[in-house]
Each structure stands twice: as structure tokens, then as C-alpha cells.
Symmetry: D5
Subunit: 93 residues, 10 copies
């Protein structure tokens, strides 16, 4: 398995239809929680004061990560930066 | 408790005495593992291909975080950026 | 308690309804002054020549800070950067 | 009086004589505390995890500020950025 | 008195009503020339090839500067950066 | 397998012993060519006019990539940025 | 022949007519695959998590490259950065 | 005479009327060629893969350059950066 | 005549011989004041809190400016950025 | 033939032996003038106020350009950025 650090900055357009907005955010939450339960989206934190999150994904490879991220309901409104992670020699895990 | 995302970029000077270098790195590892065992340094990952890590700290407040980071044996050779984290509404934890 | 330095850059869309604009700015002012009276928003300065402020918050933790900032009536129109602060060894306070 | 937001990033060269280093840091502390007592250096915070501070100065004008900053014993080892501040219309002070 | 270096980058929206545009630019010119005559806006240069200017203001303090800049008719369409200036020891003025 | 785009900027210190320099560069070449023959370092190009390369690695995961990059004889003198790649829907390969 | 590294970041406007959008993307794919079959667009990778690609072109010169890139159906919606590549002395190809 | 290096990045709004767009581009071409024939716009190159050019102007002074650039029919849709050039001691011209 | 805005950031190496340092700074002052008296270096301000200045030069062309700047005794220790200025239509001078 | 825009920023170390410094600069000049006479280094300008130049090369391909740039006697002390150029549709040449 491969670990990736992912930062997502969300910028939903003001003129998005309110129902579509609410529905997209609800789908995003369900999608995220499903991946969390599968053990693929292993951490999800809010950056304090920003509509942004920092996440850790544990997936087979960059292809799977790319598929998961493109599947995000909010993907069209996100700026995403991916950083690959390796095990650290001082980690006790 | 308060969560912080910490990125550390390490740049040890070439002319550091080799024994001091080795001893400092060994102390850094012990220091880090002690904080991990105390549950204060909750995650520690290597950024692939860089002498850098991404860490998550769970501490009382920025004062405690600041004390812990200044105590790092490699602190004089690090660039550190701290980002405060909040619980995310979609996290299942 | 935990101190945070917060910079807010405001960019209200030109096409926002003027009444909504005025009402949002009024609510922002009331919201800010309420937090100031509670001792959570301890300093608030204008950056000269910019629709931006620099603020100091004194809150329990990043979670509370995040809740307060998301509650700002102008939050959707702001870029916010948070920097955690610690006590300085030379401060006489 | 005029308010200025000042960020100072300190970078003391490794090869500075240890006695000179210690003596300079001690003078810096005394200098800073003297200005704090005079009410000119009104706030001084450490940026968590960095050898940096954020300060607020209350001085007559940029000339006085410039003189005070050039007088810092650590001035030769600092990067300094000054931002002028104005009273904010929502501040209750 | 206090000197400030001010850079203003102007970006008037394309869809601004042409009459409002012309009237705003005319008011900007009158406002600027009035401040020049008062000796507060002491220099005003165009950056060659850009809808930008570099200006020097001589005002009482950052509060007055902030009031003057917010009063610019084009203020809503400008990005402004202020740099405080001090007398230079080699200046013959 | 996982693909990664790697940019390496090389900056060998001027005061490195010439023999050590030559020997390190020779080992770097052998190390690189060995990985190329193993099919792990699948592309290697020079950025025109810079002591930099752009490379494509095909490895098991970020851990293997990290091990390979830390093993580069010139690693201490390189700035490295890794970008994970996925298959593109329009690629005919 | 001349090699160029090309990064393309795609940003299709939200208000583009859906049919035009779909048709443009289809033409982009055909155009790309035609150039791949001609051996001019020799590599095409997706940057994981972004609507971006990294490509390698093998063309006669910058003029031909410029013509090919301006011919991309998505060109009006792309930010493109071109880096010229040279053969690397350690490459075994 | 004075030489200036000018980079122009063009970004024509999508919603510009097609006739106005075509007419503006045609006027830009005529304007540019007229200045080229006068010997004031001495070089004009396309940056490969971008709607940008790099140009060299030979004019009396920054005032004339500024007038010529503001006169560009595409000026409202351009970002322009000007760099003044001097004769190089190794140039054989 | 041609106006140029020049920013100079000074960074004198710590290990410069103290006598050479003092002598260079003294020559810099004399050189600057001579150009000021000639009317070529028309303004010289200190950026508050930095070893930097902002200057306005009034010279024949970029060649003369380049010669004057290369002649600065502190030139080897300066980062210099030049911005050409034009007369502003709202200036009353 | 292929055109490339090349910016070179020179930073010769202070501690380079003065004779080696002078000899390297002399070789650089000869090397440059030889390439100019061959028609490969077609333009060479000084950026006013900086130890930098902007050059235009006319070479067979990026490989030749890379060879020529690595052959510069000052290459070890330069930061170089290459931008490929294409013919511009409005150029009259």
C-alpha cells in the first residue's frame, strides 16, 4: 500500500444553485465517509480558518488515488496537491 | 487538546563534525520516539525523496508545541511550518 | 488558552446585492465586537490601505478558533491565514 | 502615535563566537524589555516552532521605528518586514 | 510627518458602466490632484506599461494614510501595498 | 507499479574535494544506469542549460522510491521534487 | 529532433455549453492520439489528483511545438509551461 | 535611444463579442507592424505554447514606451512586464 | 531624461574586513551624494527596518543607469531591481 | 534552426582567486564573442543594474543549446532559465 498526503482547497462558486450546492456537499460527505470506512482515506483534518482539508490516503498506487480524487463530488471546485509519503525511520508505528 | 500539522525540512551543514552529526541524529530519534510514546507526536512521515517530514502533534496549546519543537536536537538545522488543525465535520473518528 | 495570529483579506463580490452587503457588514461588526467583549478576539487592526485586518485571538484551541472564524458573516468572502503564537521569553507581560 | 506590525526572523550564523552569541542575545532581551517598558514595543509573541517573532510597535513615525529596529543587537541577523496598521472601525478599543 | 511608499495596481472591471467608469476616473484625478496640492501626495509616477502607479505620501500617521487611500474613488478596483519610509543617512535633503 | 515524476536540481559545493567530486559523479552515473537497466528509472532527461534532470521512476510504492532517491550518491547535494503520475485516459500506451 | 517537457493545466469554464464541452474534450482526445501515433507526442501522463498532464513532445523545433500546442482543442482553457530537454549523459537510451 | 525588454501575456475574455475580438486582433497586428517598420518594436517572438510574446523596444525613454504600450489594442487584456536593457560589454554589435 | 525606480537590498558579508567595510560604506555615501548633487539620484529613502533603500534616478537612458549602478561601491553586495517610470496623467508636476 | 530566450544571472563567489576570476571572465567574453560571430548567440543584452543578461540563441536544437551553455566558463556560477521561442504571426521579419 502507498501513503499520500493530500491538501484540498475548496472554492464553490457563489452562483451554484443552492440545492445543487447542498446536495453536492452531502454527497461529498457520504463519499468521504465511505472511503474512510474502507480504510483508504485514513485521516481527514480541517485547516483552522480555511475551507480546506489535509488528508492522508492509503491506496494501492497513484492510479487508484487519482480515481478516488476525481470521484470527489466537489472535485471541480477544488485545488488539490498530492505529496507521496514514505515510512520514517524514527516512527514507532 | 490541540492538533497541529508540522512540516520540518532538515538541512544539516556539511561541515558539522561527523561525530556531532551522528550523535545529534541519534538524540533526535530518541527525542522523537519519546514524544511519540507520550502520545504528543502522533504521526511522523517522510516526504518521499526529501530530508523532510510531515508530522501531527497533539498538545495542550501552541506554547507546549513551541517548547517541544525548540527542544528538537536538529532544531537549529530545520525550517518548520506549523498549521493548526480542527476536527473535520466529515471525519468518522 | 491559546493565542493565534489571524490575517483576514476581504474581497466582497461587486455583484452582491447592496442591501445584503450592508447587512452582512453590519452583522460582521456586531459579531466581531461581541467576540472582543468576550475576550476571545483580543486585538483587531486594519492593514493600512487594504481591506484586510490583522487580529489576535485567545481561544481554547484550534477547534474553537475554526468555529469562530467560520461563523464570521464575511467568511465566504475572506482569505484567512492563521499562525499559532507562543509566549516569547523576552516579553514582560 | 503610529502603530506598526513587525515580523522578525532570526538567523544567527553558526560560526558566531559562543560568548558573543550569548552576550548579543542577552543584550537583545534587555533592549527589548526596555522598549516594552517605555510603551514603544507594545506586543511581542513567538511564532510557534520558529526563531521568529511578531511584534507591535507604537512609535512617533517610521523614522523612530527605523532607528529602534536598527538598534536591535540581533539586527544584522534578522529579516524584518514592517506593515503599518490603522485603527479598525470595528475595534472596541 | 511620516513618509510612505505606495504601489497601486488598478483593475477596473470590464463590465463597469462606461459612464460610471469615466466619472470614477475623473473623480480619481481630482481627488489625487487635491491631495497633491495639499502636499500629502508628494509624488505620483506611472509604472511604464502597466495600469499601476508608484506614489509617495507624506501624512501624519498610518491612520491618515489609510483614510486617504480608502477615499480613492478607484479604491475598490485597486491592489495597494504600503511600505513605510525613513530618512536615509546618505540623503542630502 | 507506480509512476513518479522526479525533478532533481544538483548543487555540488565548490569546496568539495575534486577527487571526491569526480568519484561521486562516477558513482552517481553507475547507480543511475543500474536502476535504468532494472527498469525502475525509466526516463532521464537533462533540463537544457541547467544542472538538473527530469526523471520518471516506475517503482512499487513511495517507500521504494524514497529508498532509491536517498541512495543517490549526489543526494546530499540535490533538491528533489516528486510528483505522482497516473495513467491518462487519452494515452494510447 | 528536439524534445520538450510540457505541463498542461486545464481549467474549462463552468458555463461552457455542455455539448460544446463534451465535443471539445472528444476532439482533444482524438487530436492527442493522432499526435501520439505520429510519434510527436511521445508521453502523456496525468498528474495524480489534478486536471493536469505532463507530456513529452518530440518535434522538429519550437515552431512546430508551438503550432501543435495552439492546435489543441482545449488550448484556450489551458495554462502551458514548456521546458526544453537535452540528452542526459547518464541515460542508457 | 533606450532598449526595453517587454513580456506581454494576453488573456482575451471569453465573452468578448467575436467581431470585436477579431477586429481588435487585426488592429493589434497592424499597430505592431507599423511600430516594427518605424524601428521602435525591434523584435517580436512568440513564447512557445503560450499566448504571450517577448519583445524588444527601442524608444526615446520610458514615457514613449508607456505611450506605445497603452496604445496597444489588446492592452486592456494584457499583463505586461518591462525590463530596461543596457549594452553588454561582451556584445559584438 | 528618463526616470527609474530602483530598489537596493544590501547584504554585506559578515567576514568582510572591518576596515574595508567601513571604507566601502564611506565611499558609497560619497558616491551617492555626488550623484544626488548632479541631479541624477533624485530621491533616496530608507525602507523602515531593512538595510534597503528605494531610490529614484533621472538619467539619460538605461545605459547610463546601468553604469551608475555598477559603479556603486556596495554593488557587489546588493540585489537591485529597476522599474522604469513614466509621467502620470494625474500628476500636477 | 531553433530560437531560445536565455536569462543568465551571474554570482561569482567572493572567495574565488582574483586571477582565476579575471581569467574566467576573459574566457567567458571570448567564448561569447566566438558564438556571436558564428551566429549562434544572436543577441546579448545586460539587464540594467544587475549582473545578469538576456540572450537569444539560434541553434539546431535543445541538445546543442545545452552543450553551448554548459561550456560557458562562468556556467558554474550562473542561474540559467531557457524559454523556447517561435515565430510570431505579427512579426515582419
Amino acid at each position: 500500500m502507498a501513503l499520500f498526503h493530500v491538501r484540498m482547497d475548496v472554492n464553490i462558486p457563489r452562483d451554484l444553485d443552492p440545492d445543487e450546492r447542498a446536495e453536492t456537499i452531502a454527497r461529498e460527505k457520504a463519499y468521504s465517509q465511505d472511503l474512510q470506512r474502507q480504510g483508504k482515506w485514513v485521516h481527514l483534518w480541517r485547516i483552522a480558518g480555511q475551507y480546506s482539508n489535509i488528508s492522508i490516503f492509503d491506496v494501492a498506487d497513484p492510479d487508484e488515488l487519482n480515481d478516488l480524487l476525481w470521484g470527489l463530488p466537489l472535485f471541480p471546485y477544488m485545488d488539490i496537491v498530492v505529496t507521496p509519503l514514505a515510512k520514517h525511520g524514527s516512527s514507532i508505528k
